[in-house]
Amino acid sequence: MRWYRVRALVVKEFLALLRDKASRMVLIGPPILQLLVFGYAATFNLVHVPIVIYNQDSGGASRALIARFQGARSFRVVRFLTTDRRLASILSDKEALAVIRIDSRFSQDLALHRSAHVAVWIDGRNSNTALLALNDINAITQSFNAHWAASHGWPHPKALVTMRAWFNPNLHSRWFIVPGIVGLLTLVVAMLVTGLSVAREREAGTFDQLLVTPLEPFEILLGKALPGFLIAGLEATAIILVAVPWFGVPLVGSLLALYLGLFLFLLAAIGVGLAISSACATQQQGLLGVFLFLVPSIILSGFATPIANMPKAVQYLTYLNPLRFFLVILRGVFLEGDGVSVLWNQYIPLALIGVACMAMATWLFRHRLS
């Protein structure tokens, strides 16, 4: 292997990628923009979800309960109903997520130390939002209950639950999602840079020219892999530099652990990208291959939905997914303050996948040659 030959190819690859203004723009602009947009958009915390209140009671107690709903950050009371005529269409037309009906004897029941009734109808089309909204409604009611019981001489419950969350005390789902987006965008950039690179040469006919140069197949692949490492590594750094101050996500762990993970992850991702690219004859096939890898690896990574919820067979499948391990590393380093010694059980599978993918890419490259 001769370094100067590889270096020449790397320079050529960089020129091919960055010479064209359009491809320069699509490589650099979108990841940062997407981080900002998705960082704000991808949240599981409910904020100002529209609800409607149908109050049949005229007493002060119901007003005290309503005030708690109006003060809650999760909800926004968009309307007060006086009859139940439009109730069904409010939910089905998506005017509000939930209708809360307060019984006409609400204040009276409370004054007589009897349980008062509140009915909640909720739109279950988005079952996760519905579940979270029900939890929030229950929490608001429980705090009302505790306050009311203490100030009006009701018997207190035998035990109370106190909640504490480690690593993310206010349960901001953004703290979970933003490190995930770092991993996701790094993967996308790495796949874009490498996934079409060999196929492009094949389609343009320059592949044969590459073959008649003194470069060995391994050197050609290395020349194709290094720009991917550099570009994706730099972009990941830029994304992290934006994510931490902008979204206020803590980065408490060791940078060494983070970058060791990034290196091994890129090894795996670029290996997959080059393998796809070597196997394809046209860029359309390459794009299809990139998609067929990208989409499942995002779904099966635990980025948005927990791996623990998947069926057992699918859970085993996720062990083949480099992004799965990288997300554990990212979240561990960002939120839990992990160092290299804690994360070795993530590094080893990642390194194995990386070496296997690189070997596969080399094999496919040679295999296509003959």
């Binding site: 599981f44 915390n45 009915a119 504490r164 005390p169 389609e203 046209t282 067929l292 499942p296 939905t305």
Partner: protein, 371 residues
Amino acid sequence: MNLQRIRGLIRKEALQVLRDPSAIAIAFVMPLFLLLLFGYGVSLDARHVPIALVASRPTAETSALWAGFNRSAYFDPVVYTNIVSARKALMKRQVDGIVWLRGDFSRTVLSQRPATIAVIVNGVDANSAHIIEGYVQGVWATWLQQEAARHGQALTVPVDIQSRVWFNPGLRSHDYLVPGLVAIIMTLIGALLTALVVAREWERGTMEALMASPAQMGEILLGKLIPYFLLGMGSMALSVAMAVWLFAVPLVGSLWVVFVCAALFLLTALGAGLLISTIAKNQFVAAMVAIVVSYLPAFILSGFLFDIHSMPLPIQILTRIVAARYFVAILQTVFLAGNVWPVILENSAALMVIAAFFLILVARISRKRLD
């Protein structure tokens, strides 16, 4: 417009599709593969959450509460004898939470003062942590009622909430995710099918041959649109069939509404793909733009997974230009709630506007020029 010329172009495009198997794979293998993967892979229903139970001094009271956790389908409880080892297990991610009853728990309960059930969860995955909190509250409420019944009292709380969930009474996350997935998959297919077709002609130099032919630009575009539209509708039919038969998602509304809206949506997706392809004139750039503007926005900004109401206002406005948002709303409604016309009409009107915008724009910027 000349039907004969369009027919000729469609034939040419169809031949190209048949020769390169990747287009057929996109239209039929991809929905099959993706829907299976998504349908089984994406779930927000937490079941069998590993949780540590620690009673610093076990008594009859504490074991009554533990029985509640053992009965719950949501938890896989593991009993630890001391809090130190439970904390270690939480650190090592062996459990997702700890329920801890301190040594004075039974004494406090017996002396008629409120005792504390301390719950510690791993907050890294905030959504799961929220859901676990809700489940713990459920076990706690049941326990309170049983304890009251055991002592021959009725449990009275000031306000008692009775909730009913419409359209998805079991809160099965599957039923809401699968219709949304169909929309995501159609976005992908639309973009992938058309993103490269014009750019490819430019790159291979065959665009000049097309321009030298008597076909007008509008006819060339129609010749590109029609074959891929038919392929797209085929994959839509496949996806709907799988949603209904394989994943057993109820289809409360009408099938024809689903397909009319799908046709509208496909026009937006193909229009966007053609637009990208026409502007980029370069397959590499077109491929990147297609990935950046199709899949990820459809996944994150369409309301398929993340609630649009909870996003900041500027982002909510941004979601208005994501066509998948309207299709997700239509599919979730038609599948789970039925033909709710206000929702369907509002969203299909938006789809029509977006489709018209893309297609008119493509027609305007595609001129027979070589620069």
